[in-house]
């Protein structure tokens, strides 16, 4: 009677690490392309997107100096420096409050124009000098566009005085671009046609990612436990209280990505146990709801990494051409590539990411992801070297 459980425990003690080891030993290889070191101090965030021209556009962080938008051509494997923030703005600021980051998600208009906005190089708001009181004061993020056909960069000026910009989605139909300001977290809307900006109000968001549905409704995290939704038809900004369904505790997502059919938003968060699916059909706007303007259901649909691996950092995400949600999960100090299939509601660990020809190089800090027209998955890593990596055609529909 006593031996049996003891045997079980013994087997478990030996087997569980073995299974974990087995899971950890599965690799998925990628190509790596280091970002030009003269454009960055080795850091960068959400700013990566595939242009309609097939090029990959990347925003860098260059603390104390000028941030850059650089272009990578997957055919020639060469980089081009497209925007030097200081040069374009003729701004000679130094220090952390100069245009030291391109943090926003780079967005692409229907005509192929590349849009990006700058940010101050810090989050030390306690010492924030206001513009004008200190030579390094941040005057406010500039919005830039790049026309790849004409090769022209345009500076559209400061969007919101003294504020940096983060997040970013484009409504191609209405020709509107949305950002979140930093640190005051106002949702701002830039109208490409009229070259005007509207401040849509406070969100209390620290969101890096935003999502937009086919109706032009914009989503971003808000106060803790809330998802903000801006509806351009009603011209209202709503605070939707999130109602969780499924196991675990709700934690505000870091990356949010619109599903291919525009009915759900996928989400993941550092250390998060579950992949989230926000059901846009479940949105209820309520006039007299205390503390909120309505509700939205969030389903915890699947473990963010299959057992037995522990949950880790999930600071990027993107939608594959096949409709699956791809995100990194840095478990046991190793970046695993996770695929969530909304049809089966399952996650799959595609393996520990490993750079082709560099088996000993560790990838641990993913920031930003996008997918090219051919289904190639691109990600940006802050490890040394600061680089983008590619999984050729990984997310293609018929692969």
């Amino acid at each position: 009677m006593i031996r049996f459980p003891c045997t079980l425990v013994t087997v478990a003690l030996f087997c569980v690490p073995a299974i974990a080891q087995q899971a950890a030993n599965k690799y998925i290889e990628c190509e790596q392309y280091a970002i030009p070191t003269n454009t960055t101090s080795g850091s960068g965030y959400t700013a990566i997107e595939a242009g309609l021209d097939g090029k990959i556009y990347v925003g860098t962080a260059n603390y104390g100096g000028s941030a850059h938008i650089v272009q990578f051509d997957p055919r020639t494997r060469k980089w081009r420096d497209i925007i030097d923030a200081h040069k374009v703005t003729r701004w000679n600021g130094t220090g952390l409050d100069s245009f030291s980051k391109f943090h926003t998600k780079i967005v692409v208009d229907a005509d192929g124009a590349i849009w990006a906005a700058s940010k101050q190089g810090n989050e030390e708001f306690g010492n924030r000098p206001e513009y004008g009181e200190n030579p390094t004061g941040h005057p406010g993020a500039h919005l830039f566009s790049y026309d790849p056909k004409a090769g022209i960069v345009r500076d559209h000026g400061v969007v919101l005085k003294q504020e940096g910009l983060m997040g970013g989605v484009i409504d191609r139909q209405r020709r509107l671009i949305y950002y979140r300001s930093d640190p005051k977290s106002h949702l701002v809307c830039y109208d490409i046609t009229s070259n005007t900006v509207r401040d849509l109000g406070q969100t209390a968001s620290t969101a890096r990612y935003m999502a937009i549905d086919p109706r032009g409704r914009v989503f971003l995290t808000g106060r803790k436990g809330f998802l903000c939704m801006y509806d351009p038809v009603a011209d209202e900004l709503y605070d939707l209280a999130v109602q969780r369904e499924g196991p675990g505790t709700y934690v505000d997502p870091y990356a949010i990505i619109m599903s291919a059919d525009g009915t759900h938003i996928f989400g993941c968060v550092g250390g998060g146990e579950y992949v989230m699916e926000f059901d846009l059909e479940s949105i209820r706007v309520e006039e007299n709801m205390p503390g909120a303007n309505g509700t939205i259901l969030c389903h915890h649909v699947a473990r963010s990494i299959p057992e037995p691996l522990p949950f880790g950092g999930q600071h990027a995400g993107t939608l594959g051409k096949n409709g699956c949600f791809y995100f990194p999960n840095v478990s046991n100090d190793q970046a695993h590539l996770i695929r969530y299939d909304p049809k089966t509601k399952r996650t799959e660990d595609l393996g520990t990411m490993r750079v082709k020809g560099k088996p000993d190089q560790k990838l641990t800090s993913a920031q930003g992801a996008c997918v090219g027209a051919d289904g190639t998955l691109w990600m940006k890593f802050l490890d040394k070297p600061y680089a983008i990596i590619a999984f050729p055609k990984l997310t293609a529909r018929n692969r």
């Binding site: 989050e123 708001f125 306690g126 924030r128 206001e130 004008g132 009181e133 919101l160 005085k161 003294q162 640190p183 005051k184 977290s185 109000g201 406070q202 969100t203 209390a204 620290t206 106060r223 900004l237 709801m289 205390p290 503390g291 909120a292």
Partner: protein
């Protein structure tokens, strides 16, 4: 309008405080007796407004030691905060306010007796019914090269005698004498640099001892007005930024918050005896990177214990208390 109105205002004087339009709220609580500066030991604590209540636009004290907090989310409400327990009374009460008021004064029962309207006229309630507003006259000037650029002050303040003071055209101070029901310009003018007179409006004001009123201007100057002699002493700008968002006295020291609406509010203190400033920086209420009060403080008030409450603007306005370290 004469004696009845005057006595009414005298009665109200002890309880009524200036108010303005905003949406967060803060309290300053007593500091230790021995301290390097009056602002240094204060810490900010967030006090949540009841669910659904946002955007504090006015603050005033009642005779029963409660603070009335007027919120303007989708509707205008009055919340009652018990200053001892810091608990809100359960039910918010709908509140009336003149639609075109840019600055106003209430009595302790919450009724508006004066307001400055959008056209820059001082409006006086006809007592006792309050069914009519009497136009006491134009106060505001015009700001050149601005669309609809009335030079409107955000503050009305009562002096020791129950008269109402505000500022208007080219920074001129105006007094409405309740005994005579007359509005008149004073010889005193708000401080401003040359050419900025049309922008010299009264952002905030508070009555101190011996009928001296401390005020702050749109351009961020702090001044003291002797309401008897009509003389002004300019104390300069505590902050580089424009705007004085709120002022309140506690233990003989003046506490203030200033800064531009699209910047971040910053605290300062002024010692009237020594004529010195202390700069307090941003208003941080938590350990998080973003735990700063980021929207303008618009309403600020001190209670009898020396706590100071403030309000700031925004759709997500909340309640805070500044507390001294224990």
């Amino acid at each position: 309008m004469g004696d009845g109105l005057n006595s009414h205002f005298r009665l109200a004087l002890a309880f009524v405080w200036s108010l303005s339009f905003s949406s967060l709220l803060i309290t300053l609580a007593p500091a230790a007796e021995v301290e390097p500066g009056v602002l240094t030991p204060l810490k900010t604590i967030e006090l949540d407004l009841p669910p659904g209540e946002r955007s504090v636009v006015e603050l005033f004290l009642t005779t029963t030691n409660t603070l009335k907090v007027v919120t303007a989310g989708k509707r205008l409400h009055t919340l009652e905060l018990d200053l001892k327990t810091r608990q809100f009374a359960p039910a918010p009460v709908p509140l009336n306010r003149p639609e075109d008021a840019v600055a106003l004064l209430r009595d302790s029962s919450g009724e508006v007796n004066f307001h400055l309207n959008r056209a820059g006229n001082l409006m006086v309630a006809e007592l006792p019914k309050r069914t009519k507003w009497i136009d006491a006259g134009k106060v505001a000037g015009v700001r050149p090269r601005e669309k609809d650029g009335w030079q409107l002050s955000a503050a009305l303040v009562l002096d020791n005698e129950g008269n109402v003071l505000t500022a208007g055209k080219d920074g001129t101070l105006f007094r409405y004498t309740t005994k005579t029901s007359k509005l008149e310009p004073l010889k005193a003018r708000l401080p401003s640099v040359k050419g900025r007179e049309p922008w010299a409006s009264l952002d905030a004001a508070v009555l101190h001892e011996r009928n001296v009123i401390y005020g702050g201007t749109f351009d961020g100057y702090l001044f003291a007005l002797d309401a008897w002699t009509q003389s002004i002493v300019t104390h300069g700008k505590p902050l580089r930024q424009q705007r004085i968002q709120g002022l309140a006295f506690r233990k003989g020291k003046l506490y203030g918050v200033g800064g531009e609406p699209d910047g971040m509010p910053r605290a300062f203190a002024f010692d009237p005896q020594a004529s010195t400033f202390e700069i307090g920086g941003l208003l941080k209420f938590g350990a998080g990177t973003y735990d700063y009060i980021m929207e303008p403080i618009g309403a600020m008030i001190a209670d009898r214990e020396g706590n100071i409450y403030l309000g700031s603007t925004g759709r997500l306005g909340n309640l805070f208390v500044w507390e001294a370290g224990k």
